[in-house]
Subunit: 354 residues, 2 copies
């Protein structure tokens, strides 16, 4: 008898995006019940569905998993609760929408105390108050590792929603805030942790660990990210609607590729124009790395990347964005122009979970 | 200097519901931004918010965590995907609403293959097709333990939503389906696993393990639960609206207490009227347990418990429900009348996660 051999393909062989594509194919084979009201399913920062005349809701879900997204030894519970909400609100902002409701599924190991769980919820409550949304549902279960799965539902006028697709050759590529500081902050926090570990083991540790107080901004960017709803509001006030929009969670390079693939366009990023904070430069120097690598491939900035028609530029307050490149025709690909004027292919390498 | 001592209260000291209450208090302290459209927040099977003239959406979230809710050694991936959707759809049914959209946050350990992840998604797709909802969002991350966090959004006419509150003295307490078979199925599956473990260790194992083929119904109830949308549809067709409604996920006793607390009423459950499947009796006999304990305290039936005005009874098809007791005044408490006519206090003991 020949038993069919069951294949075992390790996930790391296909990668996170490869896996997502195969799972999407699995869904495609059997799921043909798409409601008329569904405008955008899987494939953008959030799904979009109609809820009334000219009104839509958007929905997004993101989980934070201990040992993958955070290390409990240096992330205070309150920050963790904040971040779980903020990263989902960032996805709502990336549709040019505003958050309304959130649900949280919390999986708690038994070495988390009631007081720590309360601190976590304190951070969740703080973020909900800040971003003006209501926590309406929850599930609390036991688990081996602390996991927070958050879903946020937002709302918008149907005509104001901005998708990843839609960028046109000639558009300016712009970002909010600065790039790479959250990744720099993570490196600093990890080095601080290694020093503590080493000293508690009686070892010397790293010869010259970074001084945390010099990197307070970068550490805060890592622990306490801000969803850019302020920019969404600014655009609404100024009557500006970007052609395309995505949030920068996996690093600028990766997001530029998403935007270009979705819009069937190419892009030129100007390395010399990337907004990089002085602490990111300092951290790069300390660790012997390139500040450009932090800015292009460092994850968790939660800033917004958007394609802006040149004519809209004057409507925006100059302090609210930085131009980092331009949208070009698809066949020109996605490239980076170095400060020296050299044009190189920009690969999509970003934060890899697997 | 006196540092404030940081308390460490283990979660098991306050229990799941105690923890949820304290977390709700934490939210209450800081969260005062409740949108006008929010009709029901935390505290029912799903939250309810208005989305248009006379229309509401409901939203619920529930996670399945490896080692807590399931054991991968005897739960096929396809069933697991199905169940993650079905248990959330059950919460939507428990609001007398219909599911529309789902999001799934999947945390995958690296010993899960791409093929297994596809099987999991196959089950998710099957459940989405069966219950007529669209999977619109997802997040896939690495993790130490397999975790599926699902959020389901449903819809209903505002006037047709049924809450946990609302039961009135004199109402009949009714359930759909039978009670306790999912818990019986779990016992059978666990015994089968122990036998396999023992034989692979060269041990004799349990002297007379249950024959799985005799318990196919119970095992299916555990692995492949059905959300009772069929009953929600039946009520709509017959113009019946229960006074109060909850799904039976933690055992009948626990849910009766929720219904009574929410409605400020009491209840008498008639032990002799509980619908118990023959395989539940057989399993109870095999394991030397009481079938009544399975029916009252066994979790994961995902049937519906509802309070029905006596006058509505004749509108319903007799085969779609069983009367199991009656709603009484609050001061009579929650009691169980044994087949011998003895009335005893019914405690809320249900499935405990911590």
């Amino acid at each position: 008898m020949h038993l069919p051999s069951e294949s075992f393909t390790p996930i790391r062989e296909v990668g996170e995006f490869g896996l997502i594509e195969r799972l999407r194919d699995t869904l495609g084979l059997t799921l043909d019940t798409v409601p008329d009201e569904l405008i955008q399913g899987i494939g953008d920062d959030a799904a979009v569905y109609r809820v009334g005349e000219g009104r839509v809701h958007v929905v997004t879900t993101d989980a934070l998993v201990e040992g993958v997204h955070f290390d409990r030894t240096f992330v205070p519970m309150r920050y963790l609760g904040w971040k779980a909400i903020a990263v989902n609100v960032s996805d709502v902002a990336a549709m040019n929408a505003r958050p309304r409701y959130a649900t949280v599924a919390l999986a708690l190991p038994n070495n988390v105390s009631v007081e720590q769980a309360e601190a976590l919820y304190g951070g969740i409550a703080e973020a909900c108050a800040r971003y003006d949304l209501a926590l309406v549902g929850g599930d609390v279960t036991a688990a081996a590792r602390l996991t927070l799965s958050v879903t946020v539902i937002g709302e918008a006028a149907e005509h104001s929603v901005v998708y990843r697709r839609g960028a046109r050759p000639g558009d300016l590529l712009c970002v909010t805030g600065d790039l790479g500081s959250a990744a720099a902050g993570l490196r600093v926090l990890l080095a601080g942790k290694q020093r503590l570990d080493a000293s508690s083991n009686g070892e010397a540790g790293e010869s010259s660990p970074p001084n945390l107080s010099e990197f307070a901004y970068a550490a805060e960017r890592q622990l306490y990210p801000q969803a850019r709803l302020d920019r969404v509001r600014h655009w609404a006030e100024r009557g500006v609607k970007p052609h395309a929009l995505i949030d920068i969670s996996d690093g600028l390079a990766s997001e530029v590729h998403h935007l270009c693939r979705a819009g069937s366009v190419g892009a030129v990023i100007e390395a010399g124009l990337l907004p990089i904070h002085v602490q990111t430069f300092k951290a790069a120097e300390h660790f012997g790395e390139s500040p450009l690598a932090f800015a292009l491939y460092g994850g968790e900035d939660y800033e917004l990347l958007f394609a802006l028609p040149e004519a809209e530029r004057e409507k925006l307050d100059e302090s609210t964005y930085a131009v980092v490149g331009q949208v070009v025709e698809a066949d020109a690909g996605v490239t980076l122009r170095t400060p020296e004027g050299e044009v190189v292919s920009l690969d999509a390498q970003g934060f890899a979970h697997f």
